[in-house]
Symmetry: C2
Subunit: 361 residues, 2 copies
């Protein structure tokens, strides 16, 4: 096998090669410290530079005003499913959730486990979550509306922001954060596990509007309060230093190599158009998501029969194209083409798909 494959895994996912090169180059001696980034104290100026740089880059890329704080947490989106209702939903309040797939369903479940009042105001479960609902109607007085902006497993993505009736949006953006410019002003909280579009597994980015912090009950365990990370600059205790460092390198790559989120949007749109354009031109492959809800990040498709799908995944890997198997809960095929996937990788995939169709169609 070649030194590197094209990695279409859904997460952990491919990283920009220059990021891996940079990690490698300074792994034994981080910027003159005489220590690895794996070894420097989180209370040192070395790490302080790392975390401040990462925060500044997020602030620039998302165009955050002074109301927003950038936090680095642990536990992935699944921990956020629990923390969101714990922090923002008091006994007498209720929240609106939109259910667009596996992860939204889990978010609802974690609120319900806590006995919180949740209204599922819209769902696409009727058609196995192959679309984003259009008629999303908020309930009056909801504390927030929770959405999952991209659905990794089902291959759907919001291309609009729903009417939340004035309530702040709370969004799981684990699989599409920074894929294009985002108007953050309507969001009270955005959270994202890093391992898809931001870096390696092991750190969760949170962007929180400070008025949300006023809702946090004093009675929560310290590590489960957003106020703890906000007050202590994400360093109440030792943070996942290395993962934050790699996220910083990915952010630098977005800003300095790609040229920011406008350029990232153009690049991602081109990749999505290339693969969906091909899928729409043939009957051999079938895209599973409705056209207006298709994800730019996770392209889900079927072949005529499961045996052919298995053969496709195996032969693709032999050709240096890895991770194309669909999620175990839905089957089929999936190409995850996050920010770090080069357009050339998508071109190679489409060329292989054409060849495979020719031989097996």
């Amino acid at each position: 096998m070649a030194e590197r494959i094209r990695n279409f895994n859904a997460g952990p996912a491919t990283l920009p090669l220059p990021v891996l090169e940079e990690i490698r180059s300074e792994l034994k001696n981080f910027r003159g410290s005489g220590m690895s980034i794996l070894e420097v104290s989180h209370r040192s100026k070395w790490f302080d530079d790392v975390i401040e740089d990462a925060k500044a880059r997020i602030t620039r890329l998302l165009n955050l005003d002074e109301r927003y704080k950038v936090l680095f947490l642990q536990g992935g989106a699944s921990m956020q499913f629990a923390m969101v209702p714990m922090n923002f939903l008091s006994e007498n309040d209720h929240a609106d959730y939109v259910n667009t797939g596996t992860w939204s369903t889990k978010a609802v479940k974690e609120a319900e486990i806590q006995g919180k009042r949740v209204n599922v105001v819209a769902s696409s479960e009727d058609r196995n979550f192959c679309y984003i609902p259009k008629n999303i109607r908020p309930t009056p007085g909801a504390a927030f509306m929770h959405i999952t902006t991209n659905n990794t497993i089902k291959g759907t993505q919001y291309h609009f922001l729903p009417d939340s009736g004035g309530a702040p949006l709370v969004a799981d953006m684990s699989s599409d954060i920074l894929c294009r410019p985002t108007d953050v002003s309507r969001f009270g909280l955005i959270y994202a596990g890093a391992q898809k579009n931001l870096g390696p597994a092991g750190v969760t980015l949170a962007v929180i509007r400070q008025d949300m912090l006023d809702r946090v009950p004093d009675t929560l365990p310290t590590m489960l309060k957003y106020t703890t990370a906000a007050d202590k600059n994400s360093m109440f205790n030792t943070p996942p230093c290395f993962a934050i460092y790699v996220v910083g390198l990915v952010l630098k790559w977005i800003e300095e190599t790609i040229g920011g989120l406008g350029a990232m949007e153009a690049r991602n749109k081109k990749k999505a158009d290339t693969i969906y354009g091909y899928l729409d031109s043939t009957d051999f492959y079938n895209a599973t998501a409705d056209p207006d809800s298709r994800s730019w990040m996770n392209v889900t498709f079927r072949l005529p029969g499961e045996d052919l799908e298995k053969k496709f995944v195996a032969e693709a890997l032999e050709n240096g194209l890895g991770g194309l198997k669909g999620h175990r809960s839905v089957g089929g095929c999936r190409a995850s083409i996050y920010n770090a996937m080069d357009p050339e990788g998508v071109d190679e995939l489409v060329a292989f798909m054409k060849e495979f169709e020719k031989k097996n169609g």
Copy 2:
């Protein structure tokens, strides 16, 4: 500055150089996968091998029988302070805690925040935590007894196991796990943030006796139940893959390079004897912990005056000896000499200390 310094930081802390070399050598192509370990799916055979190898090594090193499960969690010891009472202490039960410093105090606080009944059965607060209490008397019927086996900030360590009246011990071993052979049979739970003796920041090892899992209430949020990690092999959601991988490499180094925990104990004892032996031979430096409670991992000491301490820390760094400043809450100096610190590093430190005394004594 030289390529690498001797790193006496308390955590994140020094790692074995062969571990850094191995990470570097396979960073772009992990064991023929064509992907970085930062990019491989946690559902892949590549990562499965990593986590199973790490679990097997912990099982061998701690001589665990089939009652114990090895888990990898997130959030550090601070998250465990919250999870322990949440999982193991029902409304009608009470638990015993021994307070030996900053971290024990925090553990007690997190139980109390939840309204749990906690008895502090012994404390060394009367002398600023410079010793481990001897007369630890359990209360009848305690659900568990919580101890902090090594106190990073105060430089003390248990060299015995307290009488817990038959209750399982629950131990924060963040800063001395695997420093020597341990009889695990009295422990219901051992937990340890990795960033001192095990690897990089970002993963928490937990070793749990399965009967403890029977106590876990169904009503807890999914990510906060030990049963979730136990049932899902620490992969309910994406684990901190890279940190687990590095922990695995450190464990391999302990087994295959050092020769196991017996050899590790001899090595650590020698390092501790070298530095405490010198501290006891001079009046210029003063070890702060009582002799029978001294930590093998964190050696805390004072010089005659804070100005001299500042000078000591600065000149040490100029001589390639870093991280010798005491914790900001106590001042003074501290040399953390965890598993990964070579005996040669301690020899170099003592040589510098002698030289410094000669010039300034």
